[in-house]
């Protein structure tokens, strides 16, 4: 094994990145990739990697399988049917490599921009949110992701007890929608966390949360939040009561 192989797989962002590197290193023609040669090299790198993160390991193994499949198909005799042109089994791989290369080039540009912008500090920095007393004043436009994070955060308080008796709890989405409708008829604003205080099981909390999402989708309610992980404030939407 020559020492050129002693390159850590961690250096590469994935199997496509490694393949592009091998093509460049051996000055191969991307339009006519010698599959046998590159498969052998690719496998050498993957097998030499002392430890692969489990997540990326799967991606590398999948590519190894793809390469071997292409190699096998190229060995098979080709029977042309009529005038149909037989597609080169390597075409899809080539397209993937080229497409990836376009974005890899753009990535270098972003890294350069990031480096360039590094010394500048904004008077109001990224992610700055004003601290305000009026809880409803800002962030009218709560993003779905924020709501999900808040839910994850709030539901932590609802760990199920280690032992519990099994009782059939029946709670449905439409029940909770009706329940919230009733509450909102009486009160203009509801706090999600206060709402949760009266529930004693995760199931009801989850169904209630789903009910809020459902009502949000139908514009029956509006959800506001002052900052991430803060309480969700629920109020009537323009389709309320419909």
């Amino acid at each position: 094994m020559d020492k050129n192989h002693r390159i850590d797989l961690e250096m590469f962002e994935g199997p496509l990145d490694l393949l592009l590197f091998l093509i460049k290193q051996d000055e191969l023609n991307i339009y006519d990739i010698p599959i046998a040669q590159i498969t052998k090299k690719f496998l050498t790198y993957v097998l030499l990697a002392k430890e692969l993160k489990l997540q990326s390991a799967g991606d590398f193994v999948l590519m190894a399988a793809t390469l071997m499949k292409i190699k096998a198909r190229m060995l098979l005799p080709i029977e042309a049917e009529g005038d149909d042109e037989i597609e080169d089994p390597r075409t899809e791989l080539m397209n993937m490599l080229l497409e990836y290369k376009r974005y890899k080039e753009a990535t270098a540009n972003f890294a350069e921009l990031e480096r360039h912008e590094r010394p500048y500090y904004y008077h109001i920095p990224i992610n700055w949110t004003p601290q305000q007393e009026d809880q409803t004043a800002i962030l009218e436009d709560v993003k779905l992701y924020d709501i999900m994070l808040t839910f994850q955060y709030l539901i932590k308080n609802f760990e199920e007890p280690a032992t519990h008796s099994v009782a059939v709890e029946e709670v449905t989405l439409s029940e909770q929608v009706g329940y919230l409708n009733g509450l909102l008829q009486a009160k203009a604003k509801l706090s999600f966390s206060t709402l949760l205080e009266q529930f004693n099981s995760r199931l009801i909390v989850v169904v209630t949360f789903l009910a809020i999402l459902e009502m949000l989708r139908n514009r029956q309610v509006k959800v506001k939040q002052t900052k991430l992980f803060d309480d969700l404030l629920i109020s009537r939407g323009n389709q309320f009561g419909n």
């Binding site: 994935g14 199997p15 023609n29 997540q55 753009a106 972003f110």
Partner: protein, 184 residues
């Protein structure tokens, strides 16, 4: 209204604004009946003042508006204000993911992963946490996958006025030609 008074108003707005100050927002702040002068003209005058009086900051056009930014030579001192040594840098994986979202938006996680050839879950999470990406609706197709877009913070982070400022992606054909040339 005197230009000097307008300059002071714009300066005050720039100090207080929670996001890049746009012309539309500026005109709304002025209210009706005030002399209408484009924000860019007043900004140009202010900017000249700052340069002439050798201030430690300047006005930068970013994310479709204007913001006050410190000059690069003060980075060394400003870093001391933050517990971590200055700004965190994005990983190569995060940058790749960002590049794909930026040029293909709106885009699903599956689109990103099929281009990168690797799972991009953690990169996406990092970028969402740092607000550089946001979720904007769902795909119409089966599974109704979430669609990702770049945010205003993304533009600010990379010092861009709009995504259209970025150079176009190279065409696949150009890359092929170059690859062939390299072999000769």
């Amino acid at each position: 209204m005197e230009i000097n008074e307008l300059k002071q108003i714009v300066e005050a707005l720039l100090i207080a604004t929670p996001e890049p100050l746009t012309d539309a927002r500026f005109q709304a702040c002025l209210g009706e009946g005030e002399i209408q002068l484009p924000l860019t003209e007043i900004i140009a005058e202010l900017q000249a003042d700052y340069i002439n009086s050798d201030r430690s900051f300047f006005i930068k056009e970013v994310a479709g508006g204007f913001q006050i930014v410190t000059r690069a030579e003060y980075e060394h001192y400003i870093k001391g204000l933050f517990s971590k040594s200055g700004k965190l840098r994005l990983s190569q994986a995060a940058l790749e993911t960002l590049a794909i979202v930026c040029y293909r938006q709106p885009v699903t996680r599956n689109d990103i992963e099929s281009i990168r050839g690797v799972s991009s879950d953690s990169s996406l999470r990092t970028l969402l946490d740092r607000k550089l990406l946001e979720i904007r609706g769902r795909d119409e197709g089966p599974g109704r996958a979430l669609l990702y877009r770049t945010s205003a913070e993304f533009l600010q982070y990379f010092g861009l006025n709009s995504v259209n400022d970025l150079p176009k992606l190279r065409e696949v054909e150009d890359i092929l030609v170059e690859e062939q040339d390299d072999l000769v």
